[in-house]
């Protein structure tokens, strides 16, 4: 059980309103990701749910009962911090045992859960070490272990992978997803990395300045972004947003076309441009096209390789059925 419901929740620091009234329901067992640029209030929102910050008004319900004034320890939530927040003077075993010791669980049960968690997280050989003797990824797993043994109603992750290097991040991303499939516990995950959001989430909550811009599954957000902000934020490389005369031809204030939905030709097409930088990734090539007369630079993505040199003339044709249209307020039109 782990349904979390936010009802008209607000948060102000002094006169500054960080989170205007906000409603959100996170269903039991769901992997929800809060994503947004830095300073959008996603970490604050997580800390409000955890109880580390008091909300200014509104209600938080956990499992159907009002938890607004319940202290963090009694909410049945476990949190994994960005800095891991391991206790440096305790061994890995004692770190993992700490929440159980505080809850007064008997020794045999403690050991059983520690062994189980250590086995699941590949930490069995490191139980007697101090956190200072572990690598970043191992520390991360200890922090997760400490959260698991509490058998919480929901896990809260606060940018847990941002201190790891790129290769390890991909590995841990999989491990956390794997863990979610196995435990089927509610997880709330905060990140600024839209790739993490897209790959892990059942449900993504896109935030900007404390306001929810869109809630939906990763593919909903990809195929039908509700506004220009979500369109630009979700997807990599970013969607090309084109304003002006070209947009008006399609009856919109702004049109958006994803780099992967643009056909490229060296001989003819809808838009003519000049090749800038081409990024060759092997499987894909990203070409930055300038001087198209459409305003900003256009990025296109081609599967495989293409022989396009800097300064070459290139023609682009958007796939019209994949075109996104936005009205003057930036909202999705049609």
């Amino acid at each position: 059980m782990g349904q979390i419901k936010l009802n008209q929740v607000t948060k102000s620091f002094g006169d500054v309103e960080v989170i205007p009234p906000l409603d959100l329901t996170i269903e039991d067992g769901e992997f929800t990701v809060f994503v947004g640029p830095s300073g959008c209030g996603k970490s604050t929102l997580l800390r409000l749910i955890a109880g580390l910050e008091d909300i200014s008004s509104g209600h938080i319900d956990i499992n159907g009962s009002d938890a607004t004034n319940v202290p963090p320890a009694k909410r049945g939530l476990a949190m994994v911090f960005q800095s891991y927040a391991l206790y440096p003077h305790m061994s890995v075993r004692k770190n993992i045992a700490f929440p159980m010791r505080m809850a007064g669980i008997d020794e045999a049960e403690q050991n059983r859960r520690i062994e189980a968690a250590a086995k699941a997280l590949n930490l069995t050989d490191y139980l007697e070490r101090r956190p200072g003797q572990l690598s970043g990824g191992q520390r991360q797993r200890v922090a997760i272990g400490r959260a698991i043994v509490r058998e919480p109603a929901a896990f809260l992750f606060d940018e847990p992978l941002s201190n790891l290097d790129a290769a390890l991040r991909v590995g841990m991303r999989l491990e956390i997803s794997e863990l979610h499939k196995r435990l089927e516990t509610t997880m709330i995950y905060v990140t600024h990395d839209q790739v993490e959001a897209m790959t892990m989430a059942d449900k993504i909550v896109v935030l900007r300045a404390g306001v929810i811009e869109q809630v939906g599954s990763p593919l909903d957000l990809y195929h039908a972004p509700r506004n220009e902000f979500v369109a630009g934020f979700i997807g990599s490389p970013k969607m090309n947003l084109i304003k002006g005369a070209e947009a008006e031809k399609h009856g919109a204030s702004t049109i958006g076309i994803r780099p992967e939905h643009t056909d490229v030709s060296m001989t003819d097409g809808m838009w003519k441009g000049r090749v800038g930088v081409a990024e060759h990734l092997g499987s894909d090539t990203f070409i930055h096209v300038h001087d198209t007369g459409l305003g900003d630079m256009i990025t296109v993505r081609i599967t495989g390789d293409i022989q396009a040199k800097h300064g070459d003339t290139i023609y682009l044709t958007p796939q019209l059925d994949k075109l996104h249209k936005f009205d003057a307020n930036g909202l999705r039109a049609g």
Partner: protein, 288 residues
């Protein structure tokens, strides 16, 4: 990368400082050692020749030796206990955000800037005077008979005065240590279900371990040599004669340089034993 040439040049450059420092330390040390094996009474015949270990035996077998060791240990131990306990509490308090934090912190640190002689005199005359002291007035206000602090509770009084002087130092070091604690650790402990007292015991106190060892080490070195506070208050009477004070009395009041020097050598040995223990404790703590 130092070449052979620059290394020898560096040695040459450093030589004056090293020689000066060595001389500064070695000359008094060797003179003390030399005097300790002599019968040397400046006002009663001067240098009366070598006497072997007689001074060492006499210093230890004197009836005031063991009480002076006890007095030293009580003062050092008492001050350490008070400054560490209250230092931790004050540091926790000062770490709380409050209005006028900067001024409060300066005020807390102020006693450290008062010279020992001055602060001991202020305590003696302003607070502990049995007729006109503030404590006497306080006691009388509640209808009690004022305590004659420096004679009835002489050791406690000295511990109090010295603690007052050293509390700011302990507080300052411990405050900086508390400020370096990662707040996410405390939040993690809070989420793990640790109430404030347990957060203190399991997270804050172990974090302060290193700073506490440093405070104990530095203070012990200085407290073993406490002198001015005793000199201006009790003058070594009422059981406040520490080892340092005993040596002073032997040399200057009894005019027996040989006997005092032997006491000085004992003090060096004692200080080194303490230092070895402390260094090992600190080393162990710093390794982790």
């Amino acid at each position: 990368m130092a070449t052979q040439h620059s290394r020898s040049a560096a040695r040459l450059m450093m030589a004056p400082a090293v020689i000066l420092l060595l001389g500064w330390m070695l000359v008094p040390l060797i003179m003390t050692l030399m005097f300790s094996f002599k019968k040397y009474l400046p006002l009663r015949g001067g240098d009366l020749g070598w006497v072997g270990f007689e001074n060492y035996v006499r210093f230890v077998s004197s009836s005031s030796f063991w009480p002076s060791v006890m007095a030293t240990l009580i003062i050092v131990g008492g001050v350490l206990l008070i400054t560490v306990v209250f230092g931790v509490l004050l540091a926790l308090l000062l770490n709380q955000p409050m209005w006028g934090q900067g001024i409060v912190r300066i005020l807390v640190i102020a006693p450290f800037f008062v010279m020992p002689t001055v602060s001991a005199l202020v305590w003696k005359n302003m607070f502990m005077d049995p007729v006109n002291g503030l404590f006497a007035h306080l006691w009388r206000f509640f209808g009690a008979t004022p305590i004659e602090w420096l004679s009835q509770a002489s050791l406690q009084s000295i511990v109090m005065i010295v603690s007052w002087q050293w509390l700011p130092f302990a507080t300052l070091i411990l405050l900086t240590a508390i400020q370096s604690l990662d707040s996410e650790q405390l939040e993690a402990a809070e989420m793990d279900g640790a109430p404030p007292l347990k957060r203190f015991g399991y997270i804050i106190l172990p974090h302060l371990g290193r700073a506490i060892t440093v405070v104990v080490l530095i203070q012990t070195i200085f407290l073993l040599a406490v002198f001015a506070e005793i000199f201006v208050t009790t003058g070594g009477a009422f059981g406040t004669r520490t080892l340092t004070y005993l040596i002073y009395q032997r040399v200057l009041e009894s005019q027996n340089v040989g006997l005092g020097s032997a006491g000085g050598v004992y003090a060096i040995i004692l200080a080194n034993i303490v230092a070895i223990f402390l260094m090992r404790a600190v080393g162990k703590n710093l390794d982790e």
